[in-house]
Subunit: 334 residues, 3 copies
């Protein structure tokens, strides 16, 4: 197994081997995290800059912890107190962090394409800095999809998680597909695994063109049309599903005429213990967090360890992000 990527920007062009390298490396770091001293000296003396142009606590903390556990030094850039408000361009901000000696940049921005633009600039300059997309607009959030993948795959083989374990599984993604970078990244990874992906949402959050958009993508060969399905009601997506991924409903959506009301949304698309009876008996529920309890998922279901993988997702996040930073930093594949 080899890893040749300097950047992690999108899963659209990830190969099956890329996924397996990440899964396998994350698996070995998960072992580190179960020790009392959860730290390895791998990135000692290297600098990871967390450039979060869009505020975030959860994802930034996860990356910060991943970097610290690899013994890297971290720099946190807080949007709002930044030079951006002083008229500096985003590329100039990135180049400033480059010139300070940053080895890897973890970038979140509310506009799609910003991490890609920064990565392209780094390559143009001929520097060996890795750029990781920690969420760009409504485009992609690859580390989230990779941690979802890791969480699911380790259920089937905790020692050797690999993409092929999901072949033939049915996975429902429910909620605000249209605005979700998490959904977009997950569609690439899950269809690549050979799973069937069923999207379910109200039409305002899952327009008819969405499936075509994915199918027409020239980023890579389109997902097999027998693998990606679109539903405007919940039940067909849930029937015999192995996994249900609920997406976070942004407050903005709730107040901008895209939804009648939270109560109606929950009634139609909320995941409840009752609705899960349509799924396979061993079905598991995922959510990228933070959850609006009682909206996307009923509160009791969220806390039920028989069904909920939400807490495992957060734990996987640190291991997967350690793996990504490690691989981007030139670490050997185990």
């Amino acid at each position: 197994m080899v890893w040749t990527r300097r950047h992690v920007l999108s899963l659209a062009d990830f190969s099956p081997a890329d996924y397996d390298v990440v899964l396998q490396t994350a698996s070995s770091f998960r072992e580190v995290l179960s020790r009392r001293t959860k730290k390895v000296p791998t990135l000692q003396g290297q600098v990871v800059a967390n450039l979060f142009f869009e505020p975030s606590t959860r994802t930034r903390s996860s990356f910060e912890l991943a970097a610290k556990r690899l013994s890297a030094d971290t720099l946190n850039f807080a949007a709002g107190t930044s030079s951006l408000s002083k008229g500096e361009t985003i590329l100039d901000t990135a180049k400033t962090y480059l010139a300070m000696g940053t080895d890897m940049m973890v970038i979140r921005h509310k506009e799609a394409g910003v991490p890609q633009a920064i990565a392209a600039e780094m390559d143009r300059l001929g520097v060996r800095v890795g750029v990781l997309n920690a969420g760009d607009g409504q485009h992609e959030h690859p580390s989230q999809a990779l941690l979802d993948l890791f969480t699911i795959c380790t259920l089937f083989d905790s020692e050797q998680p690999r993409l092929s374990l999901l072949e033939g599984k049915k996975i429902a993604i429910v909620g605000d597909i249209l605005h979700s970078r998490v959904a977009r990244s997950n569609i690439w990874s899950l269809t690549a695994s050979g799973a069937e992906v069923h999207l379910a949402a109200p039409p305002t959050l899952l327009p008819r063109w969405f499936a075509d958009y994915v199918a027409d993508s020239d980023d890579r060969s389109a997902p097999n049309p027998r693998q990606l399905f679109v539903h405007w009601t919940l039940n067909p997506a849930l029937e015999n599903a192995d996994f249900v991924m609920a997406l976070r409903l942004q407050k903005e959506r709730m107040t901008s005429h895209l939804l009648p009301s939270l109560r109606e949304y929950h009634q139609q698309f909320g995941i409840t213990r009752d609705r899960l009876k349509l799924c396979k008996p061993e079905v598991k529920v995922l959510h990228p967090g933070p959850v609006n309890r009682g909206v996307e998922i009923s509160s009791d279901l969220m806390d039920d360890p028989q069904f909920s993988l939400i807490s495992q997702q957060v734990t996987s996040g640190v291991a997967v992000r350690m793996a990504l930073l490690y691989l981007m930093g030139g670490g050997k594949v185990a």
Copy 2:
């Protein structure tokens, strides 16, 4: 001496042995802090999350430094940029930090009871995460009272500070008792030591029911009525006092009809060199900071090392917080 607490939430149920363990452990860390390399590897690889839902610089820096000097990694949660504003519950935020691999949580919140609720949830989940209350509403601020206790006790025996050294001492607590979590925590520790505690404040900041509230507490046996006294004027509290603790006057109090004016407050309850003549000659003055100079304490008195312990309190704070994190992290009692 043994330490059996996973959490430090309140001093209401602290035993004399608990106090002595903290005092003795802090004493050994104070020695570490006097070295040039003020660091020990005790908590290497462990993660301390500072979850300050209420903004704070002073206390957060003190905890952050304590954690770093024990070689822990720290995660800082900044209220305002957090998921809370995204609709997540506080318990879900705490569980997210748990799932990331946090070993200890230091929690401040403007509502009383939040650290307790989080600790109860951690216990319910059966995880070994320690929760430290860094100030919850107007309820308690145990690490502040413990650092006050440490500061006072080391005056009498710098090698072996212990609770019993305060037996029979007279300690005045002056100011906004009603709204003060610092006062509430200090009342438990100081009465437990056998000291006489005299509260002094205007009636608006020290209502008649306050003494009953303390006496009626079922958290533990009420303080001996011969140990806790309430005064609406300053002089009876100061007479022959060994220590005077001035409390911070929040700006809000000054503008909300609870006080006639700052000038009148200072005239009636401000601690001045002149008023200290009522006390024992070797009297010392404490204040949890930040101080409104010329309001709670006269400016010259605050800077007079003969009387002021304010700077020692800050220094004690780091040693006491190192001790608490160390003990909660399973460190052996010396």
Copy 3:
């Protein structure tokens, strides 16, 4: 070579030997920064507090990285969430960080003189804490001028950068001189080197008294009048210049009647490839950043490595700040 300064507050009283010690020490740290593990254990266990009362990302990150690469622990103080808004004085805030065990303080404040006041208080208290001025109002920004100096000197001798290398060079400083702490610090260092310094700006940003103000300074012997020149047009400053330093134009200046418009400013004082033809062929351009592209410097010139030293300045910044923290921390001069 010896270093006897506890604080770095101003360059007005820097001796030639002081400059050379900083340049030589920075040179050895630049070598550390070129290694893969860019870290040395010099300040292990020491605490550097970054007290940025005025928000900053770039300078704070540079100091934070410098401290971490010396293995110091860092505390960041964020204006806004601070005790200052609670009525505490700046000196009391500094004394709180002192009492916590801070070894060095890096201070930025929008009022001139704050770092000096804090340093004076530390000296009065007889403590061995070093204070570094990271920008005080419109007064000085010594670490910026030192990194500019280092950037220029290493062009002439990368192994042994020293002040005397600039003797007889012509350096133009262009832009908002009046409000610039960067210009003020650079005037001291560059005239001390024996270079000719030519200031160019519109009269509103470079009043007639400015040259006198510098000449009359009793901080040290005034710069030789044959070394400091004032121009209200750009060309005489550029003619045969070896270096051009463009200053950042604050947005406030642009909207407060001090300038007709950005377009006119750029037309009259913007540095362009065309205008550089007046300079020496090997002329280099500096800017302290962040740059308003197309205002102070034309966008293409800024990105042209043949002329622009902007990125080297940022890199020099980390090496120079490591040198300053190292020397203030009692490090031996190489």
